[in-house]
Symmetry: C2
Subunit: 105 residues, 2 copies
C-alpha cells in the first residue's frame, strides 16, 4: 500500500486544475478511454501517441487534479476514472467534455 501515490480529496478539487488537466488532448483521451470502456486500465494499455515517460507525466497531472485514481496490481499501475467524485463536485463537466458521443473534438 505504501506505493499508492497520494490522491486529493474531492473537497480539494479545483476547477482551474481540472481544466488545465483536460485542456491537453492526450490527457483528455486517457479520460475518454476510461469513461468509454468503464474499466480500470493499466498505464501501458492506453492508446496514446506518447513515450512512456511522457505518459507517466500525464497520469500524474490527471491524478493530482483528481481525475483518476491509481493503484497497483503486482507491478502494474492501474487507473480508475473518479467519475462519481467529479460529477459531485463539477456536475455535468465530464458529461459535456468526454461522454457525449456527438461532442466535436
Amino acid at each position: 500500500m505504501e506505493r499508492t501515490p497520494p490522491h486529493p480529496d474531492p473537497s480539494q478539487f479545483a476547477l482551474q486544475q481540472v481544466l488545465e488537466a483536460l485542456v491537453d488532448p492526450v490527457r483528455r483521451s486517457i479520460v475518454t478511454q476510461l469513461d468509454t470502456t468503464g474499466l480500470d486500465i493499466k498505464c501501458g494499455d492506453f492508446d496514446i501517441p506518447v513515450s512512456k515517460s511522457t505518459a507517466t507525466h500525464h497520469f500524474n497531472v490527471l491524478r493530482e487534479a483528481g481525475l483518476i485514481r491509481q493503484y497497483y496490481v503486482g507491478t502494474a499501475r492501474m487507473n480508475t476514472l473518479r467519475r462519481d467524485d467529479l460529477d459531485h463536485v463539477f456536475p455535468g463537466l465530464i458529461e459535456a467534455l468526454i461522454s457525449r458521443p456527438a461532442a466535436r473534438l
Copy 2:
C-alpha cells in the same frame, strides 16, 4: 460594418480551441460576467485585473474560439456571449463551467 471582426460559424467550433480559451481564468471571468448579467458588455466595462492591451488579446481569443460575438456601437466595442451557439455545439459545457453557481473556482 467593415470594422466588425470575423467570427467563426458554429460548424467551425472546436472543443480544443474552446478549452484553450476557457482554461485562462481571466477569459473565464469575461464569459462568466456576460453569462451572469445576461447583457452585452463594453470591452472597457469588464471587471478584470489586466491592462487594456492584454484584455484585447483575451477578447480576440474568445471571439476566435466562438465564445463571444463583438460589434461596434459608435467607438465602443461590445461583447455578446454566444450562448445559444455554444449550447448547440457543446451541450452542457457552459452550464458546467460557468453558469452553475455552486461551481468551485
